[in-house]
């Protein structure tokens, strides 16, 4: 769930407010993004991805608010990690999109499953076409 927006980092651009698919955020009276409907957050992490200032922090648990503070979020070393791994903005050159390798990874898993099954039970086979 969205836990905290670090006010010092927020530039008030409003990108996260627009991008949130569950309409959780607002630009507050101080001109910065604020959490307006926290219970509606679906923990999709996309607000972090859309924030060029790495000002938002989402905790992976979906059913409860942990109460992460801005200091804890900053100390976690995780702020901006999601946008970095996606290679957005300044990370484009260093974090290229390797998603296209997914098919080959599934194929490795499929072969491993066949090997394992063959070792345990020669009549078993497995397939992994249905992937997302």
């Amino acid at each position: 769930m969205i836990e905290v927006i670090v006010e010092d980092r927020c530039t008030g651009c409003g990108d996260c407010v627009e991008a949130c698919p569950s309409d959780v955020l607002r630009v507050g009276e101080g001109g910065k993004a604020v959490i307006a409907h926290q219970a509606d957050c679906q923990t999709c992490l996309l607000c972090e991805l859309y924030c060029p200032a790495d000002a938002l922090f989402v905790w992976p648990e979906v059913d409860r608010v942990i109460g992460v503070t801005a200091e804890q979020a900053l100390a976690s070393g995780q702020m901006g990690a999601f946008r970095r791994d996606h290679g957005w903005g300044e990370h484009a050159a260093t974090h290229t999109n390797q998603h296209w390798r997914m098919g080959a990874i599934f194929e490795r898993a499929r072969l491993l499953a066949i090997e394992t099954a063959a070792a345990q039970n020669p009549s078993n086979t497995a397939r992994h076409e249905d992937i997302r």
Binding site: L46, P60, D85, Q98, H99, R110, A126, H128, D130, R132
Partner: protein
């Protein structure tokens, strides 16, 4: 407070996920004025944006073999002609995205079109739709369809979440692309997938198909929604006492995991994931590694607890029934695309996973969008004609409006449609009990439910979830056999007389019927 929005257009697309965006592109490129309304934000809404779909990407020379294999696995419910159509269109469509999506090249310099990463894919689709001339209204959920006196579709009304003001859009044709229904589970990206389009379509007179095929499940770290399943294809599974369970990974893993979860906590180790894959995982699926990193779990060494999230019809199959080659529903002027439609034609009785489903979204979106554009340009929006609002439950109560517990209704849907013992291992008695409970919730909601602003949206979502749950239970009850993902513990074998698609319709009373009535069905 801003003024209510009222406008007329050729084509209205409801939903801005993968299928809706492709529909908007196709309709706009066919020369139509297009408005796309999204409950959230076109670019982050829906299950594609949080995922990374592969497509059914098969070179021409291998297609007949792929179709033959799929037809066999479709268990009597697929249609090879539709499979060929989506293979064709997938092959020609994805390269057109290269102006908006930075396709990777492999070591041999080959451009890789098959699998696109979700956030980048949907950002590209938004850009493509805008560049094609579509107008996008974010945070504008639709609440109901409008129809003409002759029954054809005339537009929709909804709510602008900013300012909580109503909108009315008159259109010559409407494409429903609201996604599947995840039955209020915690599935990643699916919080807005509440079946709104199924309810709106049914109220306008459309029917559904395949709603019994609505019980796909995906593992994720307990307490999180992170249903990126790739790494779990390497998993080893353990019980609470750390005994390794004999669960072979593969497409049939779900019942094994569900049985283990019904016995107690279930744990996983990913120590078989090869080192080279671990190293690139953050750049393949950045969101998969994130919960582990934040929660301090070493994903490839530690044992961690897992759960199974219900996907409903997302990676399940059922939805509004496609009635012609253009993806028109049974209602004139109402088209359906993506996971809001039944995908039986291309998937049969087994999941289309990401690959076939994505090809279906891309294809059905374009067919629906193009056909909607042709219709609208021929007939116009007829924006001055008097129209009838079709919305019922949650909008216009049949009795005295009163307090209705929408959260309680959603919880009932969760209990009846997420629970492994009720939805994976199905039995007639339990299905009947679920249906009776949901019928009761439906009556209460239709009799008394009414709300304003955001609460009105939540109430309509509850109504859609309950309606979809009832179609699912009724269809599962009538299919007294096991076929594909539909598993009846009290009828564990397939029945050759039921090798046929099953339709569902009705609101206050739910009906189902097989397309080929069992008495006349050929024995397969």
């Amino acid at each position: 407070m801003s003024e209510p929005l009222s406008l007329a257009t050729d084509v209205l697309v409801i939903g801005g996920g993968l299928a809706g965006a492709w529909a908007a592109v196709a309709a706009a490129q066919a020369g139509a004025d297009v408005v796309l309304v999204d409950k959230g934000y076109c670019g982050t809404s829906g299950v594609t944006a949080t995922a990374g779909p592969g497509h059914w990407w098969v070179p021409p020379e291998r297609r007949e073999a792929a179709v033959a294999d799929r037809v066999q696995r479709a268990l009597g419910l697929g249609d090879p002609e539709w499979m060929r159509r989506i293979l064709d269109l997938t092959w020609t469509s994805l390269p057109k995205l290269s102006a908006y999506y930075d396709f990777s090249t492999d070591e041999a310099g080959q451009v890789q079109h098959r699998a696109l990463r979700g956030p980048e894919y949907m950002a590209a689709m938004r850009a493509y739709a805008l560049a094609s001339g579509a107008r996008i209204l974010d945070h504008h959920p639709a609440l109901q369809l409008l129809r003409h006196g002759d029954g054809s579709i005339a537009g929709a009304t909804g709510l602008s979440l900013r300012g909580e003001t109503p909108w009315t859009i008159r259109a010559g044709a409407v494409v429903i692309a609201t996604g599947g229904v995840a039955f209020a589970s915690r599935l990643l990206g699916a919080a807005t997938n509440t079946g709104d389009g199924l309810l709106m379509g049914a109220e306008a007179g459309a029917d559904l198909s395949g709603m019994e095929l609505s019980n796909y499940y995906t593992p994720s770290v307990a307490g999180t929604n992170m249903a990126r399943s790739m790494a779990y294809s390497f998993a080893r599974w353990f019980d609470a006492d750390d005994n390794e369970l004999d669960i072979p990974n593969g497409p049939d893993v779900t019942p094994h995991l569900a049985r283990a979860l019904l016995r107690g906590p279930l744990f996983c180790r990913l120590d078989r994931v090869p080192e080279d894959i671990r190293a690139i995982m953050p750049q393949v699926q950045p969101n998969f590694v994130l919960p582990f990193d934040r929660m301090g779990i070493d994903a490839y060494r530690d044992r961690f607890e897992v759960t199974l999230h219900a996907e409903g019809t997302v990676r399940g199959i059922g939805g509004l029934r496609v009635d012609d080659q253009d993806c028109q529903t049974a209602v004139s002027g109402l088209y359906v695309a993506g996971d809001a439609a039944s995908r039986e034609l291309v998937t049969g009785a087994i999941s289309g996973g990401g690959a076939v489903n994505s090809s279906w979204a891309l294809s059905s979106g374009q067919w629906a969008g193009a056909a909607a554009a042709r219709r609208a340009r021929a007939l116009g929006a007829r924006a001055d004609a008097l129209v009838i609002a079709t919305g019922q439950a949650g909008l216009s109560p049949r009795r005295k409006a009163g307090d209705f517990d929408a959260a309680g209704a959603i919880q009932a849907v969760r209990e009846e449609l997420n629970a492994y013992d009720k939805n994976i291992f199905r039995r007639g008695e339990a299905l009947t009990a679920s249906l009776e409970r949901l019928d009761g919730v439906w009556r209460e909601l239709s009799d008394h439910g009414q709300a304003k602003g955001r609460a009105a949206l939540r109430l309509r979502e509850a109504a859609a979830l309950v309606a979809a749950g009832r179609w699912s239970k009724a269809a599962a009850l009538a299919r007294r056999e096991s076929r594909g993902m539909h598993r009846r513990e009290d009828a564990p074998a397939p029945d050759a007389r039921l090798a046929s698609r099953q339709r569902a319709q009705g609101l206050d009373r739910v009906f189902t019927r097989f397309e080929t009535p069992p008495a006349q069905a050929e024995v397969a």
